[in-house]
């Protein structure tokens, strides 16, 4: 008797809580949105209560967003950074693939260059900046050199791993049909190491972007990094945060472009887990 009278209200209360919970984080999308709103709220309130007035708050960032996006200075800065990164990546991709494939296919190159490649790959590019500024001056050449240096070695290492992982059957068929060397290199090795190359380009894109920003900080060169730095220095943090978001957007854009190119032109490409 007591149980029968007690149970209905209990389940009802439980279900009210459950519906609320379901409404807020019932599906993945809702959970993500809820968490996002919560993070923004904590940011807004926390900064409002504990930090100085100039520190960026979400509402301020949203208010600053349209004026920054339409600011010709910002557009010029971002196109300058983006163009430099794309150019540097293209140069690093071509040169890195050639060196990497040579290292993967010819043991003599691998033995001769492995020390230099892995040493320079682990060398933090930021430590080279003083050297680069002395060699290339305080100019956009210094930024380009930093980008290429940042991107080159991760592409070489991935291209080498890819060239080593060419299925031996392909090479045997080539040998059996007496295929000339250029077929073996450009039609078999490069294409079959494509997944590794893509992983290398992904890694290189991130490193190149970081390299560009560091170089802009160090050389005081017009670009997104400098935009962030100068706005943060003049205590316009809201505008500067928009610049940071632009950098994140560039990173994601590279990823999307790579995915689109792969889907469009290399549908046979199997997805590899990323490597470092």
């Amino acid at each position: 008797m007591t149980t029968s009278t007690l149970t209905p209200p209990v389940t009802e209360r439980k279900s009210a809580g459950q519906t609320l919970a379901k409404l807020l984080w019932g599906t993945p999308l809702r959970a993500k949105l809820f968490a996002g709103v919560l993070i923004l709220l904590v940011w807004q309130v926390g900064v409002g209560l504990f930090a100085a007035n100039f520190v960026a708050k979400p509402i301020g960032v949203i208010m600053a967003f349209p004026s920054v996006i339409t600011n010709p200075l910002f557009l010029q800065a971002s196109s300058s950074t983006l163009l430099a990164v794309l150019q540097g990546l293209a140069i690093a991709l071509v040169a890195g693939t050639v060196v990497g494939v040579a290292m993967g296919r010819m043991k003599v190159f691998d033995r001769a260059l492995n020390f230099y490649v892995s040493g320079l790959y682990t060398m933090p590019m930021i430590a080279l900046l003083p050297l680069i500024t002395i060699w290339f001056g305080y100019s956009s050449d210094a930024r380009m050199a930093t980008i290429i240096f940042a991107a080159f070695f991760s592409i070489v290492i991935n291209a080498r791993d890819g060239a080593r992982a060419v299925p031996p059957e392909f090479l045997e068929v080539c040998k059996a049909y007496r295929a000339p060397a250029r077929y073996v290199w450009f039609d078999i090795t490069v294409f079959s190491s494509l997944p590794y190359l893509i992983a290398g380009v992904r890694l290189a894109a991130g490193r190149a972007l970081v390299g560009a920003v560091i170089a802009e900080f160090f050389v005081s060169l017009n670009g997104v990094g400098m935009f962030v730095l100068s706005n943060a220095r003049s205590f316009k943090h809201n505008e500067a945060v928009v610049g940071v978001f632009a950098l994140v957007a560039f990173g994601l854009m590279f990823e999307l472009i790579i995915n689109w190119v792969m889907k469009r032109y290399f549908p046979w490409y199997r997805r590899e887990t990323h490597s470092d």
């Binding site: 984080w25 993945p28 959970a31 993500k32 809820f34 968490a35 996002g36 993070i39 930090a51 100085a52 100039f54 520190v55 960026a56 010819m106 043991k107 003599v108 033995r111 001769a112 260059l113 492995n114 020390f115 230099y116 040493g119 682990t122 060398m123 933090p124 590019m125 930021i126 430590a127 080279l128 003083p130 050297l131 500024t133 002395i134 060699w135 991130g206 972007l209 970081v210 920003v213 560091i214 900080f217 160090f218 990094g225 962030v228 730095l229 943060a232 220095r233 205590f235 943090h237 500067a240 945060v241 610049g243 940071v244 950098l247 994140v248 990173g251 994601l252 887990t273 490597s275 470092d276």
Partner: protein
Amino acid sequence: MNSFLEYVNSDRRAVRYGTVILSLLAGAVIWELVGLSFNQAIMAPLIGNEDHPGTLPRLYRYLFDDEEYILSLIQSIQLFTTGFVLALVVAIPSGIILARMITLRIALETYILALYVTPMIALIPFILSILGFDFWPKVLVVYLFAFFPILYNTLEGARSVKPELLEVAKSFRSSEFAIWRDILVPYTLPYALTGIRQAAGRALVGMVAAEFFLSTSGLGEELITASRNFDMAGVLATILVITCLGVSFMRIAQAFEQKYAGWRGLDR
């Protein structure tokens, strides 16, 4: 021609070591010649003479005959380890907690990925103007560089814990502690170690960046001072020291990875 190619690509011991030694020698000779033929404000040779101070003598003097430099080195290592250990201590438990609380994981995953791809270097101006020139803002920079690779990879590992393992544990009424000890930690550790290796490289960049752009100190300061004085031997010697530091951090992380993640095989 072909037989020559075959010979240099063969696996004979003499060829293997010969190539490496020849290439190192060639590199050293080229470095020396370039250094001697350029102005000493542009490039320093490896060994050098009176007019062109060499990199190796400078390195020797720095390491064995220069207390200030050793202090800088210790300062840098201190900065690195403080930030890195803090990142480690926070990131790994958070990653595993996220593995246990699936709703929380799904909710936060996207944001963690977004922060993982954010170039942390862009946050340095904010840290500078909010927190100033102390030691701890620099630690925060190293921490930020190291934290997200570790968290992201730990999370990735936690996601791949086989649900059957957890189900079996649950049906045998295993305690939460036993689940952590026997399933979650051993399973996520290899992934976490991959993250730690990645983070070691990034944190080194963070360390130098913090020493450049926040209050200059440590090896970053040595580097900047040397380059302002056009003391190329000093610049190159410091770059060598930083690289050796990076390589040894990586090696330590790799040794741990091999020890605790060997069973995972070569799939990643």
